[in-house]
Every structure is written in C-alpha cells, then in structure tokens.
C-alpha cells in the first residue's frame, strides 16, 4: 500500500513570544481517515499550535501544508474554507440565538438581497442534528440547552463543510458517557469519509479507545509520534512529563475524627432531593456522578450560593443555616469551585492578592491594607503547597492550571476551614500536576480537614476518596467505602439501576 497523501502537514513550525519559545520546530502529519491524538501537559504548546493552524497566530518559521499545497492561514474562517475545522473546548456560542443560527454562524445561507434562507437553514441543520442523534431541533434557543447539548452544537459546526481535517480540542470535557459514545460515532463516521482528525485530550482512556497515532509535545518541542497500538498509558505519560505516573488506588486511611459536616434530607427544588451524608474530619468523601446529577449544586448549597428548599445542615453537630458565602466562610466551609478561571480567581490580580482575597478585610494596619501580613500568608502557603511562581507579584492568569488551582486551595486553607469542598479539582490540569493535587488533598485530610471532592473522572475519585457517594439525577443512589467499590458497581450506581434515561 502506498502512503496516502496527508490531508494536513505542519513542518518545522516555530513561534516565539516575547521571552518564550512557545513552539520550537514542531512537525505533525495527519493522514486521511486517521484519528491523531495530540498530547502534552498544559503549557506544552498544544493551544499555540492550534492557534497557528487556525491563523490566529502567524508562525515565525515553518509551513502549513494542506493536501500537499503550502498555505497561509489568515484566520479561522480562512482555515475553515480550506477544509480545516476546529471544535473548541470552550464553548463559543451565542446563547440568545437558535441552534441553527449558531451552527451556521458567519455563513448563514442567503437568498437575494442578503435575506436569510430560513427554510434551507433549518433543513440543513436538522440533517446534521439527525446524525448527532440529539434531542433538540434547529429552532431551539441555545441558551435553553444543557452544557453538554451546547457542546453538541459546537460539534455540529464541524459537519457543515466538507472538512479535510477536523481538530477536536478536549471535546468530551462536559459530555456524559452516552453523549461521548455518540461523539465517537461521529468521529468514526468522519474517519470513514477520509477526514483526518486531530484529537486533543487529557483523558487517556479516550485516547487509547479511539486514536490511531499519538504525537506528544513537551515545552514547545515535538517529542515524537507513536502508534497507539504500540504503546500504553505509562509510555505516553513518560513522553509527556518525562517520568512515571502513580495510578494506584487510595488504600491509606487516616484516623477519623468526629463528624464535621452532616447533611440530612437536603433538597433544592428540582436540582437534588433528600440528600443525606456525613463527612468526618480526616476523611475524603468523593462525589461521583454524571454531569447534571446535582453534585455541584449540593456544593453550592452548602456554600450558601443557593437556598435549600428543605433539609438541615449540621456543622459539628449543630444545626446551622447558611444564607450566603459570607456565612459559609464564617462557619468554616470553603469551596474550590468548578470553573477555576471564572469563579475561583481574579485572573488580572497577582498571586498574593488572590490568595488573601477573602480575608483582606481582617488584614488591616489602621485604615490601610497590611502589606506585610499578606505577603507572610502568601509565603507560608506557597511553601506549604509548593506553588511555583516567580514571585507574589506574578499575575495569576500567567500561571499554569495546576499552580492556579493551588492558589485557590491556598486561599481557602489560609481561612482555616473545617470543611473543604473541591469541585473538579483537576479539570484542564495536566497529568503531572494532577497527581500533585491528589496527594495534596490526601495530605489535607491527614491534617484533620474534612474534604469533599466532586469529580467526573473515575480514576480521580477512586484515587483520593475514603468513601464515594454516587449520585444519579439529583439523588444519592449508594455510598461506597474504598474497599467495596469497583468500576462496575460504581458505574451502575451513577447510571440509575432502573436503567432510566439520564437527564
């Protein structure tokens, strides 16, 4: 068999930003009909490479070659016109517009006089939605869809043109398992049509399930390409971080203290009902379930961001009512939120100010903010949590995901909480930092904190939890100890034993 013509080839791409060589001679070849994984830690240069490919950045050296023809990309639309389509991890949708308008954003079909051809738009859109097997139609307002369905709209965009290559950037970040299967079918479909697929993901199990080859970047440098069949998770991880990864389960248990937090029959409208559990000091309780099962909402209720419609919350055995985050912090509950950049940090502020944000009121010298006290707190937690930053003056937005997360955790530890709730602690964080965060959570429990970890990643929940609470559509279906839990019974518990459809 002769080698097929690559649909997309990158040759010796170099891109430098002031002070950083973000891409250093990266080459990549995507063949028709293959799924090619692009992996690397955060900051390895994957997004920069995609931006170069999409024409958002122009490369300093090197060539982009589409179907053996060197091209210059002038922007995302130009790339799309040349058959290179991007599916972004972060949703890029106009939520007041309809699904159809979003899918064909920027290229609405026209009749004469610049009028929108609504009939054609709807027909084309519904044809695409049919393929994706989704439960909404062309006219649905995007703002009314769940996040997962919005992601499907994003994916539908790739199907509007005759793509030569489709680049998926973490497409499964917010999808449920059932939706992932549909996505993988779509990918297989594209593959069968001879489309080349680049697939960026941190999730190893997906990479090994669907990709043919894996290319790895580290610190802007191309580390090599391997056939997926010839390697394993450990090998790839080693290529990515240059060392081995600890994938074992949690077996250690710390000495448990008294019950720090107890929740009885807590309900909040349709979001979750009759939720009861308790967390002891020194214990990590994992909450596992599908997106939309109500885990985050429980955390938000405990943190005073939502008003419960029923049930009681007990802290150290005393009934409390928590009406606002101010209340929650006062009572020793801290929440490390799901959306680190949006909810957890003020990206434009420096590391120290972010860390002392909740207590800056108390750190006063007369009418002024006490600079020294703030720096002392920052130094303490920087050392404790091993936060790697050039100094406290560094803007948080410039740190890597793992270090950002540690700043958020440090922020709450400095408030001396009793209960620490961590929502998706390692979302968008690379493999190496993930392990560090996991160890950190275990350590915190050992120091006597009661820790709640909410996660959509099974290895993570298994790895850090002493007990695991499984949720399905707003209810707790079962609570496991780390000895009795298996992958099978956990999956059963979170998908509703009755086999009902997932909301």
């Amino acid at each position: 068999m002769s080698d097929p013509t690559p649909v997309l080839r990158l040759e010796g791409i170099v891109k430098t930003f002031p002070g950083v060589r973000a891409l250093d001679g990266v080459s990549l070849t995507i063949l028709p009909g293959e799924v090619h994984a692009l992996m690397g830690e955060n900051g390895a240069g994957k997004s920069t490479l995609m931006k170069v490919l999409g024409g958002i950045h122009q490369p300093d050296e090197g060539q982009i070659i589409v179907s053996e023809e060197p091209v210059v990309m002038s922007g995302p639309l130009d790339a799309k016109a040349k058959g290179i389509v991007f599916i972004h991890q972060e949703l890029s949708l106009a939520d007041e517009l309809s699904v159809a308008e979003n899918i064909y954003l920027g290229e609405l079909p026209r009749k004469r006089f610049g009028l929108v051809d609504w009939a054609e738009l709807e027909a084309k859109t519904n044809a695409i939605l049919e393929k994706l097997k989704v439960g909404f139609n062309a006219k649905t307002r995007v703002g009314d869809l769940s996040i997962a369905n919005q992601q499907m709209v994003e994916i539908a965009r790739a199907l509007t043109v005759d793509a030569k290559a489709v680049i998926f950037d973490e497409p499964t970040a917010s999808l449920t398992d059932a939706e992932k299967i549909v996505l993988f079918e779509v990918i297989a479909d594209l593959q069968a049509q001879g489309v080349g697929i680049a697939y960026i993901s941190h999730r190893m199990e997906e990479i090994f399930k669907i990709t043919d080859r894996i290319s790895v970047l580290r610190d802007g440098q191309y580390q090599g390409t391997v056939n997926t069949a010839d390697t394993n998770e450990e090998g790839v991880t080693q290529m990515m971080i240059g060392r081995k990864l600890d994938l074992s389960r949690n077996e250690s248990h710390h000495e448990l203290g008294n019950v720090a937090l107890e929740v009885r029959d807590l309900s909040c409208g349709k979001l979750f009902q009759n939720v009861s559990f308790e967390v002891r000091r020194g214990e990590v309780v994992g909450f596992y379930g599908l997106v939309g099962a109500g885990r985050t909402e429980i955390a938000e209720t405990l943190f005073g961001l939502r008003n419960p419609t029923g049930g009681t919350i007990l802290l150290d055995g005393e009934v409390v009512s928590i009406n606002s985050p101010y209340d929650a912090i006062e009572k020793g509950i801290s929440l490390v939120p799901e959306d680190r950049k949006g909810q957890g940090l003020v990206l434009g502020m420096n590391c120290r100010d972010n860390m002392t944000l909740p207590q800056v009121d108390d750190l006063k010298a007369g009418p002024f903010v006490a600079d020294g006290a703030e720096i002392a707190i920052f130094d303490l937690y920087r050392d404790k949590l091993d936060i790697r930053t050039p100094g406290w003056k560094q803007q948080v937005g410039n740190l890597s995901g793992g270090n950002q997360q540690k700043i958020v955790i440090g922020k709450w530890l400095s408030m001396h909480p009793n209960v620490l709730i961590v929502d998706e602690p390692t979302r968008g964080i690379d493999v190496g930092s993930k392990a560090e965060i996991h160890n950190l959570l275990r350590e915190l429990a050992a120091q006597g904190y009661a820790v709640i970890v909410i996660s959509s990643e099974m290895p993570e929940v298994l790895h850090v939890s002493d007990r695991i609470v499984a949720m399905y559509s707003g209810r707790i279906t079962r609570t496991f100890t780390s000895e009795e839990v298996t992958e099978d019974n956990l999956i059963q518990a979170i998908s509703g034993i009755g086999g009902d459809k997932v909301a």
Partner: protein, 333 residues
C-alpha cells in the same frame, strides 16, 4: 418547562400589558382628576400620541439595533439637531434658488446624508480604534453639539416652506405623516433584524462577540453599518419633526439619547447586547408617550412626569430581573 414558558411569555408581553394598564389607569383616573372634559381614550388624542412619539420612536429603532449589536449611541440628539439645521438652512442656499419646491427632496437628501456621515464617523472610530462605543459617542455628542453652536451661535435657524408644512400635517387614512414614517421605519428595521443576514449577525456579535469573530463574522463593518443606520434615522426623525415646525434651536434634541435609551430598555433590549426586539421597542416608545400624555391629562407638570418615568423605568427593570430568576434554587451571585 411550563413555568419557564410562562415567564418567557410574561417577559415578551410585559410591555403590552404595561400599555394596557396605562390606558385603563389614565381613563379611570382621568374621569376624576382630569382638568379637561375630554376622555383620555379619545381617537384624536390617540392619533396625536402616535404622531408625538414619532421623533423619539424613529431614533429608538436605530438605537435598538445598535444596542443589540452591543454598542450604544449617545450622539443621536446632536445628529438630530445638525440634520435639522441642514434641512432648514439648505432650502435657503443660493445654489438651490430656482428649484421651487424641488428643493424639498434635495434638502431631505442633504439632511439624511449628513446623518449617515456623522453615524459613519462614529462607527469608523469604534471599528478602527476599538474604543468603547459609549466613550466614542459621548465625545461625538459633545463635538457634534459644538458644531451646531458653531453654525449659528445661540440663534435659532428658521425657514418655513408651506408645501413642506402641508405635507407634514397631512393625514392619510387618519394617520399623520409622522406616524406613517414611524410605522414604516419600525417595519423596515424589524425586517432587517429578523430576516437579513446582517441583522442576525448583529445579534450574534452582541450576544457573543468572540464566537462571532471565531465564526469569521467581520464585526467592524456590521457595527459601522448600524451606526450609519442610526445616524440616518436620527436625521429622518429631524426631517419628520422640523418639516412641520420650521425652526430649530441649537439646544434641540438634547437629552433625546436618554429618552431613546429609556424607551429601548423599557422594551426589553439588553444593555449588554445580543437580545432585544424591534416590536417591543415600539411598545416602549408608546408606553413612554402614553405616560407623558396621561400625566399631563391629569394635570401633572413636566418635572413630575420625569420623576414618574424614572421611577417606572427602575421598577420595570427590577421586575424583569425578578421574572428572570427562576426560583429559590437559583444560584445567587
């Protein structure tokens, strides 16, 4: 889902409900409190109401699309005054002597052109410099008003053309000329925003600018077109009003931008852009005019009217926020 639809329906129809409420309130209260013997819901009175809401209403249509687009235009009052001066003064220019009544379309064209050009300047600056439209048009508001005063000092600019006055005062099918202009503009802009690619892209840009850029929509030209449209409409509004009155003071049109924005916001257009409806803006315009007329009917003076409108605006936006909160489980931010 049912509850969500109800609140949606309430939101969409709120402005019409408010208008009905006003009509009932002023009719009933008018019986007891009115200084005149005429009923409030008199046909002539209502026709006059539409005519009087035309100047603000025509500009409000333009403001709706600019705001949906995610911008704002504070310079409409000044553009309105400049267009009025161009309209009245150009009819006396020696160059057009001997044209007879044919000077009217020429003067109209010049006035509209000046509106479009001034709007284009706003749009071009917003597009090319990336400075926020609020700042750009704030500057334009002061600058254009300066031009008005430079033109004729503190003196009013006057010229009465009786053909024009006759045209402006005419009634066709019972509706005044100004009302016809308002209806035509409303229909045209509604068509633009719901049926054309430009209109839908304007929604997309205001709703999620980054997504629009990523989809290859050229944001700048769309914004500039919308600024030109609102400039055109400000000038058209001046034509409709000054054809009849024939005299423009250099202060005319001041605070128009705020009345216009009030009407648009009352009609449910989001200040942040991306959502809004032309038809609801029409409702907002009528609601404000009803309020002014109704309060005057009850014998209230202008200052009272302003106070009441201000309070109602805040109350309406507060209610809108309450309707948007889905219930107790809503996230508190």
């Amino acid at each position: 889902m049912q509850a969500g639809q109800l609140s949606k329906y309430l939101k969409g129809g709120a402005i019409w409900g408010f208008i009905v409420f006003e009509l009932i309130f002023f009719s009933v209260a008018g019986e007891f409190l009115s200084v005149s013997d005429k009923a409030f819901m008199d046909a002539d009175n209502m026709l006059l109401l539409f005519k009087q809401s035309a100047p603000i209403g025509i500009i409000a249509m333009g403001m709706t699309i600019v705001m949906i687009n995610g911008n704002i235009d504070l310079s409409v009052g000044a553009i309105y005054a400049i267009a009025a001066i161009v309209l009245l003064d150009s009819m006396t220019w020696p160059a057009f002597e001997g044209l007879g009544d044919m000077v009217i379309p020429v003067a109209w064209a010049l006035a509209l052109l000046s509106g479009v050009v001034l709007g284009a300047i706003n749009g071009l600056i917003v597009w090319k410099t990336g400075v926020d439209a609020f700042i750009v048009t704030l500057g334009a508001m002061l600058g254009y008003r300066g031009l008005v005063f430079m033109y004729n000092g503190e003196q009013p600019t006057s010229h009465l053309n009786w053909t024009l006055v006759d045209f402006a005062e005419a009634q066709f099918l019972g509706l005044h000329t100004a009302t016809w202009f308002l209806l035509a503009v409303t229909l045209a802009i509604w068509f633009l925003m719901t049926r054309t690619v430009h209109g839908r892209n304007a929604y997309a840009i205001g709703n999620n600018r980054e997504a629009a850029v990523n989809a290859g929509i050229r944001v700048g030209p769309h914004m500039m077109i919308n600024f030109m449209i609102i400039g055109f409409l400000a000038a058209l509004s001046a034509i409709v009003f000054y054809s009849e009155s024939g005299s423009v003071n250099p202060n005319d049109g001041e605070l128009y931008e705020l009345w216009v924005i009030t009407a648009v916001v009352l009609g449910g257009t989001k200040l942040t852009g991306g959502a809004g409806s032309i038809i609801s803006t029409f409702g907002g315009v009528v609601a404000i005019q009803l309020l002014r007329k109704g309060l005057a009917h009850l014998g209230a003076d202008t200052s009272t009217v302003n106070l009441v409108i201000g309070l109602i605006l805040i109350a309406v936006l507060f209610l809108d926020r309450q309707l948007n909160v889905k219930g107790k489980e809503e996230l508190k931010v």
